[in-house]
Amino acid sequence: MRAVYLTGDLIYVRALTKEDAKQAAAWFPEPFPIDPVRAERYLKETHSDVWDRKRRLVIARVADHTIAGSVSMRANRVHAALAFTMAPTATDADELEADAIRVLVPWLRDEAEHATVMVDIASDRPVSIAAAEELGLIAGARLREHVARGGYRVDLLMYQALNPRLVERGGRHA
């Protein structure tokens, strides 16, 4: 199920499958426990329309194919937005998220030619921030104390990639 065009050094991105219901703790977008039966129901409900432009994809490790998290992707014809949910046991979440950014942003911005790609990154994710900035993303906004950690809070950085062809035209359509 690995998407050949969405494979990085550490991770690859793929669609969810029924078997993933048994490993929902690693990808479900809520921190609350979820049993396989409810997870399977969630999978059916969220895949009721094959053309739905809002979808959740699995982030799996290249090394052993274990699920390391998931990414929510909302896209219309103009904009795309990514939001990551990394597995609670992933101690290397920042590195994995960074690799996912390196895989997903060029796909959406350069291949699918969305005008903008939004990625929200917590300010305590230095590897992900570096990956975003290497790709030319700009932190357009900083929402103070929007992310809760254990006993403290950090800011949420709203990074954005702009389609370079539109940048050349000053944001104007041809």
Binding site: P31, H79, T116, G140, A141, A148, R153, G171
Partner: protein
Amino acid sequence: MHNPVIVGDRVYLRPMEEGDNDAQARYSAAETETMMDRWRMPFSPIAFEQFLDKLYTHLPPSDVVFAVCLANDDTMIGVVELNDIDWIHRTAETGSWIGDANYRGKGFGTEAKHLLLEYAFDHIQLHALHAWVIEPNTRSSSALAKQGYRLAGRQRWVETRDGAHIDALMYDVLRDDWVAARDTWRASRGD
């Protein structure tokens, strides 16, 4: 007052209810402000009715929508809302719309928004809120400043005007910012 949740001097907030769908459809059909493109749309009251049906079905909700009503005669003049509530990080996006244009620019929206922020910070203990406005919408920007919102940056190219993408300005507010702004607002009214 009818089913109030939080009460001010001239307006109060109550849960949305049957019948509000007709007012929302009527106000959206009469919208004169072109920056309000979310609302400047011939919405059907049937669609609003179904929106209301779904509104309070999951607890805790991801969205809270209040009707803004006049304290003196219970007329519903608009809505204020918390959207995308994150109960783990305790954040939400805020929005407001005084649908009846007769009540714009007269302080009703300011009071309603202060009540919404009081609900968000002091009733359900959210920690931080954010909002966005299309960049040329100076009325909305100045309205946010009255509640203590600070400019947090911009999102590029969120809308299209005159054949070009235009930006949205992002704002955020913490409880201390809001309390200071509310004190200033109250002092300006001579409270």
